[in-house]
């Protein structure tokens, strides 16, 4: 993913129903998921149109993790979202 730009969030990502406990429901597939606190923060960030760099900044500011590890985890998370057609 291009880390510089803030792409328009795809509609499936925008359609996701999330609650504060990290429960995510995809109204397109009818599947539901349990997210970690970091996953929830990232998904909400993506729904707002955040870039990968924005997500890294947010995660490192909130949790004790260095930038390289955070970037690596976020890339893996984004890959999972792509597999679900959410990105």
């Amino acid at each position: 993913m291009d880390s510089k730009t803030s792409p328009v969030p795809p509609s499936r990502l925008m359609d996701l129903m999330l609650n504060d406990r990290g429960f995510a429901f995809d109204p397109n597939s009818g599947e539901s998921y349990q997210l970690s606190a970091t996953g929830l923060a990232c998904l909400r960030g993506l729904q707002r149109g955040a870039s990968v760099e924005d997500l890294v900044t947010q995660v490192t500011a909130t949790w004790e993790i260095d930038k390289v590890a955070a970037r690596c985890d976020i890339d893996a998370f984004l890959w999972d979202l792509k597999q679900l057609d959410w990105l």
């Binding site: 359609d15 109204p27 597939s29 599947e31």
Partner: protein
């Protein structure tokens, strides 16, 4: 104003539920004073004994007895318990009555159903042709007139396959011996043809809706099955909203100019995430009570349509609402049972017995 007088079939609930009992409840929600006649085949159809069940129940001959016998019995029942509208809820009834609008009208009964030609196009044996006309994918399916032909198709396709009857029953079979045993049962119950179908791995989705007869969808509700019974029935489903599913539904209903309630059954194929149309049911599904509980009363809308040729707009249902099938016991007494089983009028009047 004259109270609504309506007959409804399919009162069985339990393991393999029919829609009639939920339709009766839906009618009572909208028209508490409605006079509802339950048409049943068996005194053990549990909806007969439900607290908000029909006012009166009468036994009917099975549709296999033929149209003349069925209509004659409807005329008898109507003399005993007058009704003006009829909602058949079982596939075999819809097929039997689809071409009988004029005869029903002579009896003073109105029922708005798809025509015979449309039902034929939607039958399991011809579904692939209809789907092709609408650019809708279906699983590879072969039609067999007898067991020998079915075994031949299955061997060409490769086991396992699904074996289906013309109306009900579907089973996965892994070899020719199993196919012969299952197929013989289906043929004995429902007659030919048998459908041999490739198994598709994926999640099942159903769409309930109403067609306006002009190619439009009055309203629809799509669900994903979450919990399956051992017969593959949805014991729990959740509302979804997928534009692809909406588009497939629109195309099928536009092509058939569908009249009335329908249920489309799809599998979302794990291999390519595409939908495969499995079946079109020409009636309300057994889960029709679920959207009614959420405020979208499909049976009432359809009754409005039958009477007035229009209905109020139905509320869109929100994804994430789900149902779980919940079995409870209903109670009756031997007097009620004998009334339905009895040779005389096979009548059970719930209100008079309950009082």
């Amino acid at each position: 104003m004259t109270p609504l007088r309506i007959a409804v079939t399919g009162m069985h609930r339990g393991d393999n539920p029919q829609p009639g009992s939920s339709i009766v409840s839906a009618i009572r929600r909208r028209w508490p004073d409605a006079f509802i006649v339950g048409l049943v085949y068996d005194a053990y159809e549990s909806g007969i004994y439900a607290a908000d069940g029909p006012d009166v129940c009468h036994a009917m001959p099975y549709p296999t007895a033929g149209l003349a016998t069925y209509l004659a019995r409807l005329a008898e029942v109507r003399l005993l318990a007058p009704f003006d509208l009829l909602i058949p809820t079982l596939d075999a009834e819809v097929v039997l009555l689809a071409g009988a609008a004029a005869q029903l009208a002579e009896l003073g009964i109105r029922s708005l159903l798809p025509d015979v030609e449309t039902l034929g196009r939607c039958s399991k044996a011809k579904l692939a042709r209809l789907a092709a006309a609408c650019d809708v994918a279906v699983p590879l399916t072969a039609v067999a007139r007898d067991l020998g032909e079915a075994i031949h198709h299955a061997e060409s396709m490769g086991y396992p396959v699904f074996l289906k009857g013309p109306y009900y029953d579907a089973a996965r079979v892994d070899n020719s011996a199993a196919l012969a045993a299952v197929g013989a049962g289906i043929l004995a119950d429902w007659g030919p043809p048998l459908m041999v179908q490739e198994p598709v791995q994926g999640t099942e989705f159903n769409v309930l809706g109403l067609g306006d007869g002009l190619g439009g969808v009055i309203s629809r509700c799509a669900v994903r099955k979450m919990i399956l019974s051992d017969k593959g029935k949805g014991n729990g489903s959740i509302i979804v909203r997928d534009p692809r599913l909406d588009a497939l539904t629109q195309r099928l209903i536009a092509e058939t100019r569908w009249t009335g309630p329908f249920e489309l059954e799809f599998i979302r194929d794990r291999r390519d995430d595409g939908y495969r149309l499995i079946e079109i049911n020409p009636r309300f599904p057994a889960w029709v009570g679920f959207p009614v509980q959420l405020g979208t009363n499909y049976p009432a809308a359809w009754i409005d349509w039958m009477i007035h040729g229009r209905c109020a707009a139905l509320a869109d249902l929100q994804p994430g609402r789900f149902f779980l099938r919940h079995h409870i016991e209903v109670s009756g007494d031997i007097g009620q049972l004998s009334a339905v089983l009895g040779a005389s009028g096979d009548v059970y009047q719930s209100q008079s017995i309950a009082s």
